[in-house]
Subunit: 339 residues, 2 copies
DNA sequence: TTGTAAGCGTTATCAA
DNA sequence: TTGATAACGCTTACAA
């Protein structure tokens, strides 16, 4: 692969001039410009991004850390391409790094991106605690944004949404439909999102004078299989229920599958609602209703802020994000299908 | 961020020694090692990967080019995380770049990875023609592998599978079940995979003395919506059919949705088979049967070859891949569900 | 076992 | 309008 030096030689100019032509900065006569372009063409020259990044101390890359349990599924894929597109429109590249299955690995992923000298980092955390993230943000000068967690110290560096409220509303909706025995399938309980959704459910029940029943609260793991297992448990215990609220669509799908196989009509005998509203949701099962999760909105917001910060020059971190936590209220119920 | 120089100073040694400690190459006494480690700790030092990559002319990164229409969906996501994991187990990172919606953009994606000095590149092409790819492979010294296309010149640089045969077998299966009016929903016809699947269908019909009917061949676009539209067209034309073979699961799902809404029982009145066997397939619809697509096997194979090449040292490109095209015969039919 | 110094391919600051 | 030349932070002969 030819270097800038070779191009310079071919064009009969210096490296510096070639660099100027390429960057468009500084004055270069039209004549030499032409020569340089011709030389570039001839040499099949391509700039070495590593060298450029090293020299400029910029990479034009934004890192994203996500655990693969999240991006390995229909939930995250749309988000990903949307984020990548948005960044590219701004002349940047998205680098995705797997946060894997532990806080340590999530941290390692962040470190890797830092080591790569990414211009900024977006974290969609799964295991990392708020305190650790607050520390990390303090430690590095690269802007780091956290999605879907409420940080304590650096509130301007995070964006999250009201999972509890969304869950509350979904439960309320079911109650208003006349349901009183509403089963709830939780997500993995080491996830704040799962906790918030559970508490929204409980709060709604309480508010309507219904005592939450332990027997109606099933521990799931976000997977269709765990949703199916939850329903099986319910049935084998002969617990009465007329509605199911699952903490995500995947579990709702698993739940519906088991119900259908057992000959229980959805939604005629049992109503099922999930969360996240994954893109294929409308096709997944005619009886699945879902509460939208605004991750894609959040991601857009994060990228906007990041870009305006990076492009905006030397804004101080603390002043940049004047708006507070972005809370979105987002319960959009899909229709019950198939009647 | 502190540099190696600073660490060296702190430890009272030279940069070179620090480098040796870090890389584990060359002799360093235990005593100085300890000092260096202490200094690293104290300084909170982290190596600058850009600088290292520039110096070594290696990035430990493997690039993957995929069009977002592919990775934005349940089809590719599993594959992605699997590939990333496999590479990481080998101390490498996967960089995913969007091939977008045209041959030019796919080429640009490849260029970007080349410019980043990725150690190797994997292309899952959508628009790029075989000839262009053959040219590119010739042009660069980085190993470039192509998945799901049969190259002309550099057969050792590609891995593909027998879509036609799989489609043939699926059609044959339906015929053997007694179906004669089998509708076929194609994928986008600018895709070789779509063409191959269509020709497998036709060939099977011909072999069993059934003349392919134009009215039974519907043009789809890989999306659930286009699958649904295809069935609507069929119904509005009052074309007779007792089975549907859709060129991928997404379209099959769309097809099933329309059939169900119209009150046509699947699979009692109409059998539906899709392709690709996406992970959620078993949960998508009880009546969906699917033919497995071996992409994940192919991807594994590609990575294995790439790694063995990169690690193996100075093997010449031409001699490395002694095995020929990897053709996998892979028709694993799921059971018809729900009876 | 360690240090010196020459790269790696750019950018960017000065002079000219 | 251009050319030297010093960074950028690391690796790696080659010497010592």
């Amino acid at each position: 692969m030819s270097t800038m030096q070779e191009v310079a030689k071919k064009a009969g100019v210096s490296k510096a001039t070639v660099s100027r032509v390429l960057s468009g900065k500084g004055y270069v006569s039209e004549a030499t410009k032409d020569q340089v372009y011709k030389a570039i063409e001839e040499a099949g020259y391509r700039p070495n991004l590593l060298a450029r990044n090293l020299a400029t101390n910029k990479s034009q890359c934004i890192g994203l850390v996500v655990t693969n349990t999240l991006y390995n599924g229909s939930y995250f894929s749309g988000l990903l391409s949307q984020a990548a597109q948005k960044l590219e429109d701004n002349g940047r590249q998205l680098i995705l790094v797997d946060g894997k299955h532990s806080a340590e690995e999530e941290q390692a992923a962040i470190q890797f991106l830092l080591d790569l000298r990414c211009d900024a980092i977006i974290i969609y955390p799964r295991f990392l605690t708020i305190d650790v993230m607050d520390d990390i943000i303090e430690q590095y000068k690269q802007p780091i944004m956290v999605v879907n967690r409420r940080l304590r110290k650096h509130q301007s560096h995070c964006i999250c949404c009201d999972h509890k409220g969304a869950s509350f509303n979904a439960t309320k909706y079911l109650i208003e439909q006349g349901h009183r025995d509403i089963a709830f399938i939780t997500g993995s309980l080491d996830s704040p999102t799962a906790i918030e959704r559970l508490s929204g459910y409980k709060e709604a029940l309480n508010q309507y004078g219904i005592t939450p029943q332990d027997s109606l609260i099933l521990k799931g793991k976000w997977t269709p299989a765990s949703g199916a297992a939850a329903i099986e448990l319910l049935l084998s215990n002969q617990t009465t229920f007329s509605a199911v609220l699952a903490s995500n669509d995947d579990m709702a799908i698993g739940a519906i599958k088991t119900l259908s196989q057992t000959g229980i009509a959805v939604p005629d005998s049992v109503s099922v609602i999930g969360f996240d509203n994954i893109p294929t949701a409308p096709y997944l099962h005619p009886a699945l209703s879902s509460v939208k999760d605004p991750v894609s909105d959040m991601m857009n917001e994060v990228i906007d802020r990041l870009i305006s910060m990076l492009d905006g020059g030397y804004l101080s971190k603390d002043n940049l994000f004047t708006s507070n936590l972005l809370i979105r209220e987002s319960v959009s119920k899909g229709p019950f299908w198939g009647k």
